[in-house]
């Protein structure tokens, strides 16, 4: 079901800006409106910053998905970092191990339509989120 794919590597803080600009561009191309473009850019910002903060390096990949005449943008954030010890806790509003707001991951889930998180301690984390053009 996937079509084109591309990615942005996250190594330094300003790569977060590059990642969300790329996301915004792809979202615009797919015909998302301003609000959804902002949602997608914000979600990417959260995922990319988590990579930068907790894993050090990783990447954000973009995929245009076409599923039963639904068109969408899939964002995959992957890293080989420390992984998340307790996934369900990390999805709670207000849970943060870094003194942050703890709104990132639960926020991404609400900003996007589909959300999936896979993580293994010591191995890394892969988070996949999709926004559909029309639901």
């Amino acid at each position: 079901m996937s079509k084109t794919q591309s990615c942005v590597h996250i190594k330094k803080e300003w790569d977060i800006v590059g990642a969300r600009q790329m996301g915004r561009e792809k979202a615009k191309e797919l015909g998302f409106g301003t609000v959804n473009q902002a949602r997608i850019a914000t979600a990417i910002s959260e995922l990319a910053r988590n990579i930068y903060l907790y894993a050090g390096t990783g990447k954000i990949s973009y995929e245009v998905v076409n599923d039963m005449n639904k068109l969408g943008l899939k964002i995959i954030a992957s890293d080989d970092g420390p992984g998340i010890a307790d996934i369900s806790k990390s999805m709670e509003d207000g849970f943060s191990t870094s003194g942050g707001l703890g709104a990132g991951l639960p926020g991404v889930k609400r900003l996007m339509d589909d959300f999936d998180i896979e993580s293994e301690e010591g191995k890394g984390t892969t988070i996949t989120a999709i926004k559909w053009v029309r639901k």
Partner: protein, 288 residues
């Protein structure tokens, strides 16, 4: 051997310079110096080759080299002009030396190569250092300029200050915002500070967190912080993220925020009424 080689090269500097200049002239056709006038290009080339020879002759004549590189940097010539030029010089010189020696065995060849490298390398190093030093200088100046721009405070009227934020906020800038805000509130004796985020493209949890902390700190020193310029799409993403901004005042536009600031500081905008205008005209007329 280095001495005898040096003598050969210096004594034949005219020939070597000539073939070097020919090679370099050809390079002019490769894009990078195409905007430079022929005259300037030729004089600079001659000067360059003189600098190289004086450096070989007198071993590290740094002032001539410094003057030369400074002028190139000021003219904005690319570093590749220097590196290409020195590579070419190396090749031309080695060719020349080889053409002078009847037969060269591999041992001799490697010694010739290393002697010539010993001449060229310090020149390359020094010029590259000059260039990168000047770049670092430029970058740090721009960084300073950017820092000054990144969190400006405008004291619009007594007790009311505005901080307009434009562009991406990274952690470094977020810290500056906090510092400037607190410093400014005290310096201008502000009662109200308006933070305008109209120009901030993305408000994620990091940005929100820093704004919340800044507002809280402003409150602790006895002033009020009003967040203005929240675009509709930003309002929606903030709600989606589940960020609670209910604890401090927000307004959609700077104008609305400014009105609130006036109220807080016990002021209001009074429009001159028709009556007052008439009075004014009457006074003005009587003065004629």
């Amino acid at each position: 051997m280095p001495e005898s080689l040096r003598r050969i090269v210096v004594e034949n500097s005219d020939d070597i310079s000539k073939s070097w200049l020919e090679e370099i002239e050809k390079k002019k056709e490769d894009d990078y110096t195409s905007t430079i006038s022929n005259e300037l290009y030729q004089t600079t080339n001659r000067e360059f080759v003189n600098v190289i020879f004086s450096s070989i002759n007198r071993q590290r004549n740094t002032t001539a080299l410094n003057d030369f590189s400074e002028r190139l940097i000021n003219l904005g010539w690319p570093l590749s002009y220097i590196t290409d030029g020195l590579q070419t010089f190396r090749r031309v010189t080695i060719d020349f030396i080889l053409s002078q020696s009847e037969k060269v065995d591999s041992e001799n060849l490697s010694r010739i190569l290393s002697v010539v490298d010993d001449w060229v390398e310090p020149i390359i190093n020094q010029l590259v250092n000059e260039y990168s030093g000047s770049w670092e200088n430029t970058v740090s100046l721009q960084r300073l300029a950017l820092q000054e721009l990144s969190a400006p405070l405008i004291p619009v009227m007594e007790n009311i200050t505005i901080m307009p934020l434009i562009g991406t906020i990274d952690t470094e800038r977020a810290k500056l915002i906090m510092e400037n805000l607190l410093e400014g509130v005290i310096k201008h004796n502000s009662e109200v500070v308006l933070i305008d985020i109209t120009g901030v493209p993305v408000v994620d949890t990091m940005v929100a967190h820093h704004i919340i902390q800044a507002a809280e700190a402003v409150r602790l020193i006895g002033a009020t912080c009003i967040l203005v310029g929240i675009r509709p799409e930003i309002a929606q993403t903030i709600v989606n993220l589940g960020i609670d901004l209910s604890k401090f005042p927000t307004k959609s536009s700077l104008r609305k925020g400014f009105n609130t600031a006036l109220k807080i500081t016990n002021r209001e905008v009074v429009e001159l009424t028709k009556e007052k205008e008439k009075e004014l005209t009457a006074i003005l007329d009587s003065l004629k």
